[in-house]
């Protein structure tokens, strides 16, 4: 087998050196009746050519986003990632390193994490950030638990604009961890009254910005109301590119920002791996979950970086840790950092403006179709439309015409009749005028 360097004669020499007759002697700890002789139900070794052929056939059964006019968002976005990013993250020294436990020979990973943390803090308008979480949804779940620890309260008030899957993650953790969630009804327009839900038992308010429906609303009044009751504001961002154009949550009083960073540097990948961004106030850092890189000096006084504040973490603190997270999303964070470095302030802000302009022009075009209404008053690169008909059926019909028209709200929030006619539509820099025209034409045809 091409991945196994030991040759048969070497195996035998090694067994002899160990002093056992056969490799199964080394499995002596295994109850004899449990030791398998073979694995009859699985195929045998295959060469690259054969494996590649089989998997390519499987891949060909999927419709790649890049091959059609594509407007699907709702938590994952198709952006153009420069070729440099994917090249760099595949470098052996980044790709095949472990977590930087030995800092002297891990400065590459550590310095990029330090850059990543700084970028995330700047972008969210927060003081500190960690070295990544699994994804936006688990970052959101951890943010709520962190708020509980900080406030010693156990109730989270969750906006109806939070991605329903994120809400489910929060609910799952809360349900089994013994805390409560007050979840508001789906709120496409950002007009829910969340402030009145905040009380003295509230540990945090969780608001998505822009919301899953694309809606942008001011977080400052919510933050104020929360702070007045001793609660924290957890701001959730699933489209991080939006912060190139929008006021950052940190400026509006957010205490924790939990975000999905996929849009920068990372592909769609059918949902993962992505990269969770997690930022907070400096004073809360010892309750922050996840790894953190910090600056220090070496024995010769030269600047260097290490993983630090690890007394928060499971490998040191075990059951007293702030989280059980260990492996995080390092390589996706690296991709984020490289892409963000390529963009810089100038590139990111322009990218955000292009996204917004594309969404505005698509919204205008769709709104001209009879019976179609754009329900989102203010938005970044994503908005919600109401159509005269069933959203899921319409999206499927569009797909048959070769247009990926968005996400039916009913797919995310099933069982809620009131959202049956809503579609969440995203438009990024990848969409051309022809893409938009194709969408309009196809939608007219299927309605």
């Amino acid at each position: 087998m091409r991945y196994l360097p030991l040759e048969q004669a070497e195996r035998e020499a090694m067994l002899a050196r160990i002093g056992v007759p056969a490799v199964d002697s080394l499995f002596a700890g295994v109850p004899a009746d449990k030791l398998l002789k073979e694995l009859p139900n699985l195929p045998r070794t295959k060469g690259e050519l054969e494996v590649e052929r089989e998997l390519s056939n499987m891949a060909a059964r999927n419709v790649a986003a890049g091959s059609v006019p594509f407007f699907v968002g709702a938590g994952a976005y198709r952006h153009h990632v420069p070729a440099t990013v994917d090249h760099l993250i595949q470098r052996s020294e980044f790709l095949t390193a472990y977590t930087p436990y030995q800092p002297e020979i891990s400065q590459g990973t550590l310095q990029t994490l330090f850059e990543f943390q700084t970028q995330v803090a700047l972008l969210t308008g927060m003081e500190v950030a960690n070295a990544s979480m699994y994804d936006g949804s688990t970052a959101c779940g951890e943010a709520v638990l962190m708020a509980h620890r900080l406030t010693r309260r156990k109730k989270a008030v969750v906006s109806g604009g939070l991605h329903p899957h994120y809400r489910s993650v929060v609910e799952t953790l809360s349900h089994w961890g013994g805390s409560h969630v007050v979840a508001l009804a789906p709120d496409p327009t950002g007009t829910e009254d969340i402030i009145s839900q905040i009380d003295d038992e509230t540990s945090c308010v969780v608001v998505q910005y822009p919301s899953v429906f694309g809606t942008v609303r001011d977080l400052a009044p919510i933050a104020e109301a929360a702070h007045a009751k001793g609660a924290l504001l957890v701001a959730v961002v699933t489209e991080i590119v939006s912060l190139g154009l929008l006021k950052p949550p940190g400026e509006m009083g957010a205490d924790i920002v939990a975000a999905e960073g996929q849009s920068i540097g990372n592909g769609l990948n059918f949902g993962g791996p992505y990269v969770g961004l997690f930022a907070t106030r400096e004073k809360f850092v010892r309750q922050m979950p996840g790894r953190i890189a910090g600056e220090t000096v070496d024995a010769e006084g030269r600047r260097g970086y290490v993983l630090t504040l690890s007394t928060r973490e499971q490998h040191i603190r075990r059951e007293k840790a702030t989280s059980n997270i260990c492996t995080n999303s390092g390589l996706c964070a690296l991709a984020f950092t490289i892409h963000m470095t390529l963009l810089g302030e100038a590139g990111l802000t322009r990218l955000a403006r292009i996204n917004h302009a594309n969404a505005v022009s698509l919204a205008d075009a769709l709104a001209k179709i009879g019976g179609v209404e754009v329900v989102t008053p203010a938005y970044f690169n994503e908005f919600t439309i109401r159509i005269p008909g069933d959203a899921q059926k319409t999206i499927d019909a569009l797909a048959r015409k070769g247009v990926m028209g968005g996400v039916p709200v009913s797919r995310l929030a099933s069982g809620r009749g009131e959202v049956r006619d809503l579609i969440i539509v995203a438009s990024t820099e990848i969409n051309t005028d022809e893409d938009r025209a194709a969408y309009v034409k196809a939608l007219q045809e299927v309605l």
Binding site: L6, T99, Q107, H163, S168, L268, V275, S414
Partner: protein
């Protein structure tokens, strides 16, 4: 010298001899370049992308447009390339050398896996695009599941957990849900002392109280000790098998029986599955839930700390509590079940949802590519080779190093303690740092916590005999040097790495967790 409780020094000693005598004007050392932070070298005006001016400047942002700069520096493409290439060159990696990090299974990461994960049909599909347009992806998930079930002998698999610890959470939530369904309110989880930190952290994260189980003299867990600790409040045991001392738990079947008899469940930490793939099916040992680190056993790259993927296999008893989403057959095709209502209609009782989408698809592709490439025979051979390599290292070092639990065969990793360094003045950390100068990544040190100055060596199946032999000879040379009293070689180490020992105490006491313009300038002036 500061030390933590495991005897791990945290502050470096002062350096008495320079690692490398020749000093340079630039600070560079031949091919090793010093590299500033992007915040020092970049500028707000620079960019490495060319984007057209948007067609319209009209905004619909509800008055929430950002005011003032973000502060994000940019670099042009050539600068970006050089910056990150240079930084990468300051990393050690599997591709550059043996990486014997115990418990981490640093095996070869085939580039075929990377290529397959980047096929547009896998890499460029959206988790929420219409399901009829992703049938190949669902097929891949099913095929991966089938492999995992066949290898583990379990009933069901939850693919969505994003890493090992997330898998622990998944498995333990399934257990919790099962107890809940049975009306039981058990609140204790048994965890052996030698367990990885994620185990107690996971249990505590869910509100469980952790009860520790001591190890025996031989490094394994006695069924008797478990039986003793069991009781009506015990929800589960979290046992790592093979355990973190590199040993297969010989009484695992009895332990499982005892656990089940007490109405509890058996969670197995599968981080060490690489020792037994194709050799033992955890399901046949009585395991109820086990996570599989695809980023260990099935070769998806570690990426400097992730992403991972931690699918959880479940027994019959727990299968129905698996979280959404999951894939089911539906007529001719496949379908994702994404919410509880739909799941219940399928006869399931999911404990909830762990993440926004369907799991680490990119890792699924890589892991399946690995499995198809190896095949049944290759996977068995890989495990055998991994175990053989660890025992070979053990046998070749046993006269000079100290084995904490006597001279017995190990599984895919071998554990030493620091008794052999007694009175040499050399610590496990010093020893590790001296390995760096010799071109090796150190083994896992100071874990598991049950032995003093632990050195956990996992060579994996990816090393040739020549590579193992040089590694062994080097470790022997170092051990002899320590015993001979050549303390400087250790205390001054590493001398030849891009950095000498870093001050971790200072990092923690005066945390600098991000770049700040002032600090940086002040420092530069110092």
């Amino acid at each position: 010298m500061g030390m933590n409780t495991q005897g791990r020094p945290t502050t470096p000693d002062a350096v008495t001899s320079a690692g490398n005598e020749a000093h340079t004007f630039t600070g560079n050392r031949g091919l090793d370049h010093e590299e500033a932070l992007i915040f020092e070298s970049g500028s707000l005006a620079k960019t490495g992308v060319d984007l057209p001016e948007p067609k319209s400047a009209e905004t619909r942002l509800g008055g929430l447009a950002r005011k003032g700069p973000i502060g994000l520096p940019g670099l042009t493409e050539p600068e970006t390339m050089r910056h990150y290439v240079r930084l990468s060159q300051r990393n050690y990696a599997i591709d550059t050398g043996l990486y014997p990090l115990g418990s981490c299974t640093m095996k070869h990461n085939p580039r075929l896996n990377e290529k397959m994960a980047r096929l547009p049909g896998f890499g460029d599909i959206h988790p929420l695009q219409p399901q009829q347009t992703v049938q190949g992806a669902l097929q891949l998930m099913q095929m991966l599941s089938a492999y995992l079930l066949e290898l583990t002998g379990m009933k069901a698999v939850a693919l969505s957990p994003k890493a090992g610890a997330h898998g622990e959470l998944c498995g333990m939530l399934a257990i919790r849900a099962a107890h809940d369904a049975a009306g039981s309110k058990r609140n204790i989880v048994l965890v052996p002392e030698s367990a990885h930190g994620t185990n107690p952290a996971t249990a505590a994260f869910m509100g469980y109280t952790v009860r520790s189980i001591p190890a025996r003299e031989d490094g394994t867990v006695a069924a008797a000790a478990v039986r003793e600790a069991l009781g009506p409040d015990v929800a589960a045991i979290m046992l790592t098998n093979p355990n973190t001392c590199g040993l297969f738990e010989p009484e695992v079947v009895e332990i499982a029986k005892a656990v089940h008899e007490a109405g509890a469940y058996f969670y197995c930490d599968g981080a060490n599955f690489n020792a037994i793939v194709g050799k033992v099916r955890p399901g046949e040992l009585g395991v109820d839930a086990m996570h599989i680190n695809l980023h260990k056993t099935f070769s998806t790259p570690h990426g400097g700390g992730g992403p991972g993927s931690g699918p959880v296999v479940l027994s019959d008893a727990l299968a129905k509590y698996a979280p959404v989403p999951f894939v089911v057959r539906d007529g001719d095709g496949l379908r994702l079940v994404e919410d509880a209502g739909d799941a219940e209609a399928q006869g399931q009782a999911p404990f909830g949802r762990l993440t926004a989408f369907h799991g680490q698809m990119g890792m699924f592709v890589r892991a399946l590519t690995y499995m198809m490439s190896h095949g049944a025979d290759g996977m068995r051979q890989a495990s055998e080779d991994a175990v053989l390599a660890a025992n070979y290292v053990r046998a070749a070092l046993r006269d000079l190093f100290s084995q904490p639990f006597g001279d017995q065969p190990c599984m895919h990793e071998v554990l030493f303690d620091d008794r052999f360094l007694k009175d040499t003045g050399v610590t496990t950390l010093d020893f590790a740092k001296a390995m760096i100068d010799e071109g090796y990544h150190p083994m896992t040190v100071y874990f598991p916590l049950v032995v003093h100055g632990a050195m956990l060596i996992e060579p994996t199946e990816s090393e040739s005999k020549d590579s193992l032999d040089l590694f062994i000879a080097t470790l022997r040379d170092l051990a002899e040097a320590a015993k001979r009293g050549d303390v400087d070689r250790f205390k001054q180490a590493p001398r030849l790495a891009p950095r000498r020992r870093l001050d971790e105490t200072r990092a923690a006491r005066q945390p600098k967790l991000r770049w700040q313009p002032d600090t940086a300038r002040k420092e530069a002036a110092e």
